[in-house]
């Protein structure tokens, strides 16, 4: 079907809105897990664009998430009242205010994605991983050392962020992320990402501007991570620099690896699986990261292509075509 992608997006958005309107009937604990799932899906699918499709191993996704979370929170904390007044109050005004906050957060994250992406273009593999990790650390260090009563709140972070995040926003953003990443990759234009991943020199020789592709991947990946950060901040109401450390980045990397690098359905499934697993292991917090670490090691030795690798879906599509 020709407009399959648009129909998916429309249905997903409508369904999110529908569920959101009757979210009062959902058990609080269950809703909490659902929102976590949605935010993690956004994070994993956007990181997959960078790490999976484009083959640029980034270890700094939590850094972009932090930029988005702080950007969006500062907008609602500092300007929220003004914006609500301008838009005239009511739920539409809240929605517009939140939308602006999210976009500002995403925009700041995209800008930092561009800033990290540009110098990193010459780097590959391990070097890129370390530089992105370094970026993650720099963000954390800078935020921690800001003044406690300034807009960034220092080491304690920000409190009292309005709880604007609901089912619609979380799953709406997740749906848009999935739409953008999959439509982009599944086009002739998008083959460029895979070409860059497979062989940069050959890609250049085929007229593919590898620099542009890598920058697009970094900027878009960071943008969606920023949106996820904004959603997270307005979901938890408090954020601190420690919440966006290297381990948070590793969480997202584990989702991408477990699902299968370059496989959007696989990565979505892994994000759901690991978020739920996280909940189950809540009482065994001290074992959780040991399990995650073992997943990484065992996957690399036994099944490096992930549980649901991209090739699985390619073949299926061809048979049905």
């Amino acid at each position: 079907m020709k407009y399959k992608a648009q129909i998916f997006l429309f249905i997903a958005l409508a369904a999110s809105l529908g569920v959101s309107l009757c979210a009062g009937n959902i058990d609080d604990y269950f809703l909490d897990i659902l929102l976590n799932v949605g935010i993690n899906v956004t994070l994993a699918v956007s990181l997959n664009l960078v790490n999976g499709h484009t083959g640029q191993f980034s270890l700094g996704h939590a850094g972009f998430m932090a930029v988005g979370a702080y950007g969006a929170s500062i907008v609602t904390l500092q300007l929220g009242d003004h914006l609500l007044q301008i838009f005239g109050g009511g739920s539409i005004a809240t929605a517009l205010t939140f939308l602006i906050a999210l976009l500002v957060g995403g925009g700041c994250a995209a800008l930092s994605g561009w800033m990290v992406g540009m110098p990193s273009l010459r780097l590959k593999g391990d070097y890129l991983a370390i530089v992105t990790l370094g970026f993650n650390e720099i963000i954390r260090v800078v935020l921690t050392n800001t003044s406690g009563d300034g807009p960034f709140g220092g080491a304690l972070g920000l409190k009292g962020i309005a709880s604007y995040t609901n089912f619609f926003w979380v799953f709406g953003v997740a749906a848009v992320t999935i739409y953008v990443v999959s439509t982009m990759v599944n086009s002739t234009y998008g083959r460029g990402f895979l070409a860059v991943r497979d062989d940069e020199i050959a890609a250049e020789a085929m007229g593919v501007n590898t620099v542009r592709y890598k920058v697009i991947a970094f900027v878009l990946g960071a943008f969606f991570a920023g949106l996820a950060g904004g959603l997270y901040a307005h979901f938890r109401s408090t954020i601190s620099p420690e919440g966006f450390n290297f381990l948070k980045s590793v969480d997202v990397v584990v989702m991408v690896i477990l699902g299968g690098m370059g496989s959007t359905p696989g990565v979505i499934a892994a994000a759901i699986l690991l978020t739920v697993l996280n909940e189950w292991l809540r009482d065994f917090e001290q074992y959780r990261m040991i399990v995650f670490a073992l997943i990484l090691i065992v996957m690399m030795i036994v099944r490096p292509q992930g549980l649901l690798p991209a090739s699985l879906f390619q073949r299926k599509k061809k048979e049905s075509a």
Partner: protein
């Protein structure tokens, strides 16, 4: 406009090593030229200089009147020079179809937004492009293999696919880096036929680096011989074969080139 490639006193130095020195030659539109020389003579370096992988230390390279140094490899491909690699560089995770499709990216009139909006124009464009890819695969007998992973192809087919992919960029000059390497005699015969066919069908200039003298002497109209990065001879296959400098470079003694250097 003539799509003529001109190298004028091109030199490149890596540290203290002069890989190519004062090299000048011309490729005229529609010409089939061979670039030969002993191992390490700088043949692949010449390709890398033309395609923008390296920037010359001195000298001029121009194509179609455009000065090439300073352009990125992808820009040079857009200017109209395409290449294959000595060690095959296909996109291993992509299918045969997608390998060729990736070379069409540069012809796309629209960018990323187009792919995101997915309107009617996008679908029309993709369909048209698909039939172009399939036509090209069909010409080279790879249409039936379009869905297979390019790794699953035979060695000869992989070499062929790499040539098809390079042609998909619609070049005016095609550079082939050791296209016959690793092929058996039958495959080499087919390759010679294929190169002649491409030249006729697409009306482009071709330069090939090749060690197999039978292939080079069999199809090239003109040959440039390199040794230690410098041109030691240029001329028709017959002229080059008789050139004493060439014979000395290859064998260091008075043997006939064709018989001995093919190995």
């Amino acid at each position: 406009m003539s799509a003529k490639l001109e190298l004028d006193n091109v030199t490149i130095q890596f540290g203290g090593l002069k890989a190519v020195g004062d090299l000048s030659f011309t490729i005229n539109p529609g010409e089939l030229i061979g670039l030969i020389g002993p191992n390490g003579a700088g043949k692949t370096t010449v390709f890398n200089l033309i395609t923008g992988v390296y920037v010359p230390t001195a000298g001029r390279i121009s194509f179609n009147g455009i000065s090439l140094p300073g352009h990125k490899p992808h820009q040079i491909t857009r200017i109209g020079i395409s290449r294959t690699f000595q060690n095959i560089r296909l996109f291993p995770s992509l299918s045969v179809f997608d390998n060729v499709r990736s070379a069409f990216i540069m012809h796309l009139p629209h960018g990323i937004a187009h792919a995101l909006v997915r309107g009617r124009a996008f679908h029309d464009e993709e369909r048209e492009l698909e039939s172009d890819v399939l036509d090209l695969l069909d010409i080279f007998g790879l249409k039936d293999a379009q869905h297979t992973s390019c790794n699953a192809l035979s060695y000869g087919d992989q070499r062929r696919l790499e040539i098809v992919r390079a042609l998909a960029t619609k070049p005016k000059l095609l550079l082939l880096d050791e296209p016959a390497a690793g092929m058996n005699p039958t495959e080499k015969e087919e390759l010679m036929k294929l190169i002649r066919f491409i030249k006729g069908k697409f009306n482009i200039a071709i330069m090939l680096v090749e060690h197999d003298m039978k292939v080079v002497m069999g199809i090239c109209e003109r040959i440039v011989v390199l040794n230690y990065g410098e041109k030691i001879a240029e001329g028709t296959p017959q002229e080059v074969q008789k050139n004493p400098d060439v014979i000395a470079a290859y064998l260091g003694a008075d043997h006939e080139v064709v018989g001995g250097a093919a190995a």
